[in-house]
């Protein structure tokens, strides 16, 4: 028998908050303005990537201008193809990747042709003396071409996309250079040509890989920017009623109502964007692709969850306020008047406390409406009175509950808490100053909103 009673509220009936929150998940995901921003940013990323590839190609073309007639046409064809490929970057997606594959196949086929041609030349050199001089000149020219190619590849991020291969080719080039110097070039022609073709291959491969990486980076950035934009756009959402009409005043600060969850998510997205966007990002193409396929949807999922939670808690808080009002109304019917009310720590997310005083004998009752989970609530009645008649207390609680039920609040039977209410629970100064346990992280400085909310109401 005590003056403290807990009144349960049938939680199934409080699914309105959840429903409202679910509606939030379905709407507001993509806003037209946001999409346009994201698209523009994406385009800029791609333009940047295409520009970089084009500049690289220009430099490559300049570097290869000194090639001999034996290799120039081959390299020109390769360059043209790479340039075309680079231009296709602007149209991201499967088509580009398919074209890259074709390109690779074409280049491989051309290389095979070239090898066969050199083979034929080799046979002729051995047979004809006249051809030997020709072959020597060709070997020397090819050697020079190889050196040019070597220099050109040095300029490419070869270590990133084909680590170690250029070094090995450089050694072979140095070896064959020595051989050319000490004996007739014609005999080294095959080797020189092999080295050159390997260097050419390396050049194509590195250039293609770079292109591919840039493509993947742009895609990853696009995905991350999209989710970042959505997260930003949903910093504040509006709760809708069942008809989809926005409820007046129902602007939810998602970060506040998720105890800083949104801010944390956005920070994570920003970090990932920074990593992926670095031109020297260590991320591989596979990793960049994983950003698009897995990480971005994960962020999206978390964002929806945060928005839903914020909406649910926000709605539930309003329900608690309404319930508090009904409880006060019910007590007023029984002769009490509201003296003061506050939220713990003046924070809407916390329990609401109202103090009513009997008009006649000044006895007080404190009503606590505390959140239970994100969308539930629990009512506690704390009676501070001289009259400790349990019958009368029970009667009073019953009278009040009848009014609540009449208003559609599915309250259950009160359970006795077995203790007299603590004196500090009627100290509203203390309640106002109380800080939420565990704080709200990044949102902590924005939690003191209750007074402003009251004035607005």
């Amino acid at each position: 028998m005590s003056g403290a009673k807990r009144i349960s509220v049938d939680e199934r009936e409080w699914n309105q908050a959840r429903k409202a929150a679910r509606r939030l998940r379905q709407v507001q995901r993509d806003l037209p303005g946001m999409l346009e921003g994201v698209r523009r940013q994406n385009q800029a990323d791609i333009d940047r990537a295409v520009g970089a590839v084009a500049r690289r190609q220009d430099r490559m073309d300049g570097a290869l201008r000194g090639l001999s007639r034996y290799t120039r046409d081959l390299e020109e064809r390769t360059s043209r193809r790479l340039r075309e490929q680079a231009e296709g970057l602007a149209e991201l997606g499967e088509e580009t990747r398919e074209r890259a594959r074709r390109l690779r196949a074409e280049i491989t086929a051309e290389r095979a042709d070239r090898e066969r041609e050199i083979q034929r030349l080799d046979e002729r050199v051995t047979d004809l003396k006249a051809g030997r001089d020709e072959a020597s000149a060709r070997a020397r020219a090819t050697f020079e071409d190889a050196r040019i190619m070597h220099r050109a590849v040095l300029d490419l991020p070869h270590e990133r996309f084909a680590p170690g291969r250029l070094d090995r080719l450089a050694h072979r080039l140095a070896d064959v250079g020595e051989t050319l110097r000490v004996q007739e070039g014609a005999y080294s022609l095959g080797r020189v040509q092999d080295i050159y073709l390997d260097l050419s291959d390396l050049r194509t491969e590195v250039q293609l890989a770079e292109q591919e990486w840039r493509l993947a980076q742009a895609e990853a950035l696009g995905a991350l920017r999209g989710i970042a934009a959505r997260a930003q756009a949903r910093e504040e959402v509006t709760v809708m009623d069942a008809d989809g009409t926005p409820l007046a005043g129902a602007h939810v600060d998602v970060d506040f109502w998720t105890d800083g969850g949104l801010r944390a998510l956005r920070a994570e997205i920003a970090e990932r964007t920074r990593t992926a966007g670095d031109p020297d990002s260590p991320l591989t193409v596979a990793e960049l692709r994983a950003v698009v396929r897995e990480q971005a949807p994960g962020f999206e999922e978390r964002l929806d969850g945060l928005v839903e939670r914020a909406g649910g808690r926000f709605y539930a808080s309003q329900q608690r306020a309404n319930t508090a009002d009904r409880v006060i109304g019910a007590l007023e019917v029984q002769g009490y008047a509201l003296v003061e009310e506050t939220y713990a720590g003046e924070d809407f997310r916390e329990a609401h406390y109202s103090k009513v005083r009997h008009l006649g004998d000044d006895n007080e009752i404190v009503v606590e409406i505390a959140p239970e989970g994100d969308t539930g609530m629990a009512i506690r009645l704390l009676s501070y009175d001289d009259d400790r008649s349990e019958t009368r207390r029970v009667q009073r609680a019953d009278d009040m509950l009848a009014v609540l039920r009449r208003d559609g609040v599915p309250v259950g039977r009160p359970t006795d808490l077995g203790v007299e209410p603590a004196p500090e629970d009627r100290d509203f100064g203390r309640l106002r100053a109380r800080r939420a346990d565990g704080g709200a992280g990044a949102g902590a400085e924005r939690t003191r909103t209750a007074p402003a909310g009251r004035d607005g109401g």
């Binding site: 926000f314 006060i328 029984q334 002769g335 809407f348 008009l359 009368r392």
Partner: protein
């Protein structure tokens, strides 16, 4: 808080201000609405709230079983300082009279993140969303706790109004705590400036007292009710609205709803006629609205048209002018005018109760109303209305009901005039209930004499008896306040009749006016105690116009004719010639002096009539003489003659003796005597051997004496309408006349009936015999003369009666003789038929 209190609640407000801890409220107004001086309409609770707030109560809380506790303003809420006054009701669910849930009407006070928005109610059924839930009321226990705790606080002056005490009484049976508290409150413990107002739905304080007697839960209530009874002005009585309030109601309907008003100058008078109906304000409210709906302007004609005004139109002009215009009742007028100039009032209020004596139709009720207005004008009564009642309205047929019935009636007349017509009937009630009524009346006459004027009215004699019947009554009605209302004189009555005929649009033909005047004069002369005065004129006019209509049939332009008057103008036809009139009397044998006396009377009457002067009243007569001298016969003749002369309407003769007048027990005689007189009304009461009423002379024959006294009085009362003829031996009759000092003077003439002479006796014998078809031969005459001469010397000789005896014996004689001698003449009486002596 208004500061304007509905007029009817003014007295209560004033009493509450004085700090009375218990006030009771009752009367028809407890179910009414109110309009205050600022033209605002309020129900009882609101009006009461304003009245108590005005009396300095900071908090006024209403308790009723329907709504439990309610308040009417934010100021009555404890939390008013901290909470904005939202119009919401704290501590009650029915600020405006119940119904809607206050929670649905007031904005939320607890702001959530969305502010004060109220989310759509949830709930599995959605029932709560279907509409406002039925109003929640404070629980019994909570209400009980609230009352007890509020009233025990001394920091805020609080008034608790308990509505419908009749219902709360039952409620208290099961709410011990409240009952205990209320009883201790009524006992005067723990008060501290607060007050408790108990509202009863009873019509009068008497009803409240009766309820209190039956009330089991609140024994202390009786004291509170008794206190109200003692309080000057019984401030708890809520009556029907008065002039100012109804005037405000009319203005409200005029300004607010656009009711047209026909005559602004006459508005006050119209409203006063509305007040007279004594109806609740709500009734008039509905009626005014109806009138407005009809598009009719407000005024006496439209109210009359709807049948909403029952009494006559109120006269215009001030009461003093109307008083001055009262005709034919100078004494009454002077008395009422005298009220205007009164000596200084002492501490004890003077009793102003009055007695009006007079016949019906003499304007008593009119004057009573005028008296009410005079008292009102002088500020001696607050309302001055007149409650008209008869004895039956005070008395009940059930034991114990009479004091209640009387009490209620007196309550309804408070601050006005209670007019009890035929009040003497109260003392004539044989079952004793009338006495109960008088006793109740006596108390109230004394206690409420500053708020009530009682006027008792009735016939003069009865009223005298009435006042005598109870010693208290005499002292309550000072002699100076006994006002006599004389019957209207013939001229006034004629004027009334003429005016009524004019109203009917009937032209008066030649000679009609004179005939009417004579007719009215006749009616007036023949009037009895119940003469209706103005009412009798109405009857006369109705009768006359009816006759006129039957006579003229379709020719309705014809004027009234003398013959249209009832009886063809009684007494108007020239009286028969004296000789014709007196013929039958003259034909009688002897009685020379009697004949002369009667002739003298007839001639006087005819002379007076010719001169159209003084009305002639048929005199009472003394017939003195031995038996058998024709007194009864002459009395019949006198009756006939007086009727022919128009002095008596019927002229019949009622013959009585002692046995017919004297009763068997005290009081019976007067009744019996009066009955006989009543029987003889418009004719002759012939008392044979009247001296027998005063037989002993030693005072032992009280009953006979009573008859004489009654007779003496009634002879005066009935003068002109009944002629009393007392007959007997001369000597004995002297004793009779001595029995009452006033008696002798009542008789206008003494007619001596001397004994017949022998010749007259023989003449009578011959006449009687002839009437039987007999003749007497000379022998028979001689022998009869000798016999009669002897007999008439005896003191007890019966004169004409003796002659009758003689003739009968002679008849027996002739019968015997002719039996023996059938050839003898059967019609001729002979000497041998005459007996030797009279048997």
């Amino acid at each position: 808080m208004t500061g304007v209190v509905a007029a009817r609640l003014g007295p209560l407000s004033a009493t509450a201000r004085e700090g009375e801890p218990v006030l009771i409220l009752y009367g028809p107004g407890t179910r009414d609405a109110f309009v205050d001086g600022a033209c605002r309409r309020a129900d009882l609770a609101q009006a009461l709230h304003d009245a108590l707030a005005c009396a300095g109560f900071e908090r006024v809380v209403f308790f009723s079983l329907e709504t439990m506790l309610t308040v009417r303003d934010a100021g009555s809420r404890l939390g008013a300082r901290s909470m904005a006054a939202s119009g919401a009701v704290s501590g009650g669910g029915a600020g405006g009279g119940g119904g809607a849930d206050p929670a649905e009407r007031r904005p939320n006070r607890i702001a959530g993140p969305m502010g004060a928005v109220r989310l759509a109610p949830s709930g599995p059924t959605g029932a709560a969303a279907a509409g406002p839930a039925p109003g929640a009321a404070m629980s019994d226990d909570a209400a009980q706790r609230m009352i007890v705790s509020l009233m025990s606080r001394h920091d805020v002056r609080t008034a608790v109004v308990l509505e419908k005490m009749e219902l709360i009484d039952g409620f208290l049976a099961s709410h011990r705590e409240l009952a205990v508290w209320l009883n201790s409150w009524l006992d005067g413990r723990s008060r501290g400036g607060n007050t408790c107002v108990l509202v009863f739905n009873q019509g009068t304080l008497t009803d409240v007292e009766r309820f209190t007697d039956d009330c089991r839960t609140l024994p202390g209530l009786a004291d509170a009710v008794a206190a109200e009874r003692r309080r000057p002005g019984t401030p708890g009585f809520l009556r029907a609205p008065e002039e100012d309030e109804l005037a405000m109601l009319v203005h409200r309907a005029r300004i607010g709803a656009g009711l047209a008003v026909e005559d602004f100058a006459g508005l006050r008078r119209t409203v006063r006629m509305m007040v007279r109906e004594q109806l609740p304000l709500t009734v008039w409210e509905g009626r005014l609205e109806y009138l407005r709906g009809l598009g009719r302007p407000f005024g006496v004609p439209s109210l009359r048209e709807q049948g909403w005004l029952t009494g006559p139109d109120l006269p215009e002009g001030d009461v003093w002018k109307r008083l001055a215009a009262l005709q034919g009742m100078d004494a009454v007028r002077e008395h009422l005018e005298g009220l205007r100039w009164l000596p200084p009032r002492g501490r004890e209020p003077a009793a102003r109760h009055m007695v009006f004596t007079g016949n019906p139709g003499t304007g008593k009720t009119t004057v009573a109303r005028l008296a009410g207005e005079v008292f009102l004008e002088l500020g001696l009564l607050r309302r001055g209305h007149v409650v008209e009642a008869s004895a039956a309205d005070l008395v009940s047929q059930h034991v114990g009901e009479t004091p209640l019935k009387t009490g209620r009636l007196v309550d309804s007349a408070m601050d006005g005039v209670l007019f009890i017509d035929e009040a003497y009937m109260l003392s004539e009630q044989s079952d004793g209930f009338g006495k109960e009524a008088i006793d109740t009346l006596l108390t109230r006459l004394e206690n409420d004499r500053d708020r009530l004027v009682v006027i008792v009215a009735g016939y003069p004699a009865e009223m005298r008896d009435f006042l005598r019947a109870n010693p208290g009554l005499r002292s309550r009605f000072p002699e100076a306040n006994v006002l006599e209302f004389p019957d209207y004189d013939p001229a006034t009555l004629t004027a009334i009749a003429r005016a009524r005929l004019d109203e009917l649009g009937l032209a008066r033909g030649p000679g009609f006016d004179a005939a009417l005047e004579a007719s009215v004069e006749e009616l007036h002369r023949r009037r009895d105690r119940g003469f209706g005065n103005a009412r009798a004129m109405r009857e006369l006019v109705e009768d006359t116009s009816g006759r006129w209509a039957r006579r003229v049939k379709d020719e309705r332009h014809l004027p009234l004719d003398v013959t249209d008057l009832p009886g063809g103008g009684p007494g108007l036809a020239a009286p028969p010639e004296a000789d014709v009139l007196l013929g039958p009397l003259d034909a009688m044998t002897g009685l020379g002096s009697v004949k002369a006396e009667v002739r003298k009377l007839v001639l006087r009457i005819q002379h007076a009539r010719r001169r159209r002067r003084n009305r002639i009243v048929a005199p009472h007569l003394l017939f003195l003489g031995p038996p058998g001298t024709g007194k009864t016969t002459v009395a019949r003749e006198v009756g006939r003659i007086l009727a022919a002369l128009g002095l008596l309407r019927r002229g019949h003769v009622v013959e009585v003796g002692r046995a017919d007048l004297v009763g068997r027990y005290q009081g019976h005689t007067a009744v019996k005597t009066k009955e006989r007189i009543e029987e003889a009304m418009d004719g002759v009461l012939f008392i044979d051997e009247a001296y027998s009423l005063a037989r002993s002379g030693d005072g032992r024959d009280d009953f006979g004496q009573e008859a004489v006294d009654t007779l003496t009085q009634e002879m005066e009362n009935g003068r002109g309408r009944v002629v009393v003829i007392a007959a007997g031996y001369t000597a004995e009759m002297e004793r009779f006349l001595d029995a009452n000092t006033g008696l002798a003077s009542r008789f206008g003439a003494r007619v001596a009936f001397p004994p017949y002479s022998l010749e007259e006796l023989l003449e009578i014998l011959a006449g009687m015999a002839a009437a039987e078809g007999y003749a007497l031969d000379d022998g028979a005459v001689r022998r009869a003369a000798a016999l009669l001469d002897r007999a008439r010397r005896a003191p007890d000789f019966g004169n004409a009666r003796g002659v009758r005896t003689l003739l009968e014996e002679m008849d027996a004689g002739i019968a015997a003789r002719t039996h023996l001698d059938p050839a003898a003449d059967p019609d001729l009486l002979r000497a041998e038929d005459v007996p030797d002596e009279l048997g």
